[in-house]
Symmetry: C2
Subunit: 328 residues, 2 copies
């Protein structure tokens, strides 16, 4: 009898068996062959994104294993939400620096809980061992579908569009600070450790929003991506940024606003639309500004209104930079 190597045993025990419980007719061959074989829905386009999460850079290495798995998938699924796509399949490439069965069990439980919520099926992966000195690394590639030609892009923002965000911002960044300082502030910790991709909202925006992005690097940085791709500028009303009660009970308004603008990790949607709030008729969205002309096609800028001048001066449009910011 041919024995499974430890590598194959892990894949089988924690991933293959659970993946097989998902009933997905589009998966012709799942885990276990050289490749997965998949059947796209006719008349759809495939929407694909890949995200790597590194321990102590993108999440705390000592976070609960369930949350690490839950978060790694949802962070990637959030990119599908930003396109208005329906999630279909995902792959997992994980580099482990240890062989802890309990950790893997809880990690896979978190991963598959998020997968069930998003109705997305694991179709393959690669498990590799790295030295103990190397951080845990999780690369998730997510696949979704949109009816041909309907994907929400970054590049189609129009001058005059209203800029909207979903729910509240800054909670996740505050949650990370709470986690690092061992403060038990439940809604904020949950916002950071268990972000929820805005799949339903993204789908409702199709045909209504001109452009859309998910807020992973911070409102200003991600708005910057829309502006750059659409060759436009933006005016942001700082008095309109939605801040949660939990955030305002944790810190003062100035710091709360900074976290909301530059903190990142919220995974809310930022979108632009020619429609007003009443016409859109969507729950939990807030108009925070307007798309305006750029002085030149190459120069995009974010202008701020309705805040003290000295506060505006401290704002940077650089956003969260994985290469220069301190790690988590």
């Amino acid at each position: 009898m041919l024995k499974r190597s430890p590598e194959f045993q892990i894949i089988h025990e924690f991933f293959e068996i659970q993946a097989a419980t998902f009933n997905n007719d589009s998966v012709i061959v799942g885990i276990g062959d050289d490749c997965a074989v998949l059947c796209p829905t006719p008349q759809t386009q495939q929407v694909i994104s890949v995200d790597t999460s590194i321990a102590d850079r993108h999440f705390p290495a000592d976070a609960p294993a369930f949350d690490i798995g839950y978060r790694a998938l949802n962070v990637a699924v959030s990119d599908l939400a930003a396109m208005g796509a329906t999630p279909t399949w995902f792959t997992l490439a994980i580099s482990l620096n240890h062989h802890d069965r309990d950790w893997l069990k809880n990690f896979s439980k978190g991963l598959f809980t998020a997968a069930a919520n998003a109705d997305i099926t694991l179709i393959g992966g690669d498990t590799t061992k790295v030295p103990v000195s190397a951080p845990l690394s999780i690369t998730v590639q997510v696949h979704g579908e949109v009816c041909s030609g309907t994907a929400l892009l970054r590049s189609q923002a129009q001058v005059g569009d209203t800029i909207y965000v979903s729910n509240t911002l800054g909670d996740a960044a505050a949650g990370l600070a709470c986690y690092k300082n061992k403060l038990s502030h439940e809604p904020l910790l949950t916002a950071y450790l268990r972000p929820e991709p805005q799949i339903v909202l993204g789908q409702k925006l199709m045909g209504k929003a001109h452009s859309c992005v998910d807020i992973s690097d911070g409102l200003l940085a991600d708005l910057g991506h829309i502006l750059e791709r659409s060759h436009v500028s933006a005016e942001i009303d700082l008095s309109k940024i939605p801040l949660s009660k939990a955030l305002l009970s944790y810190t003062d308004k100035t710091r709360a606003l900074k976290l909301a603008l530059s903190g990142g990790d919220d995974y809310q949607l930022l979108f632009t639309s020619a429609l007003d709030n009443a016409t859109l008729s969507l729950d939990n969205i807030t108009a925070i500004g307007t798309i305006v002309d750029s002085s030149t096609a190459e120069h995009t800028a974010i202008h701020f209104i309705n805040a003290a001048d000295d506060f505006i001066e401290t704002l940077t449009t650089a956003g969260f930079d994985h290469f220069h910011e301190p790690s988590v």
Copy 2:
């Protein structure tokens, strides 16, 4: 003007610009949005595989950057070849522990040279920074297409099938040994550092082979995958294993045979077919054995013939195990 962070600058300079030179009508949105948007060919199934290559585990960290890029993509494309698929798109998730522009330039040159050879287009990725103590990590996900229902699987080997391999085996494992010992043995080094996926052969096998796998972990380990999935056993004629002149000029026949059986990294195809060699009429394939009944559905085995008994005794069917074998 919004500046690109160093992370985005790297993606733009070394990957986005080169990716854009590939002309692929199926790529509706490539690098630069939340997701890529892709248009599959109607009536096809999608074929997907993901491979992670870790420095000093899957390749020597000090190998030429060109070869690291070339190899990382080809190793993944080889899985498409094993399904008989036509390569279409790929993503790249790379974790860098340094910021060396020359290295990145040569790495991307190797990557895109392999991409041009396989006619596969980069559609997205994620660049992350890891601590200097962490190894370089490269995760490539490849996408291909097959006409619906035609993919070559591991699970369809039939009793009575002849077992074939392409080209010669063991060269790559010997090449790795040469590399580590600083021996200049060109064909062997090239076999290891620049493996060539057998895309054309895979496509020719469609409708002719019952099962197929690429040899990444060693002939015995990968044959084991076919046997396990197909619930059959195999008889291998050790006198038939194809060994190159380069390999036999490097080492004695016994060691050459061991490298061919267990060395891995050859990325040749191993397939089973009811057709004989003359009917298949393919270049550079060798019949090495036969698929036979398993004693029970659960117990698969590889039987060896035509070699000294003591040699057969030393053979293990465990193959190459990334968790237990010494690193490269």
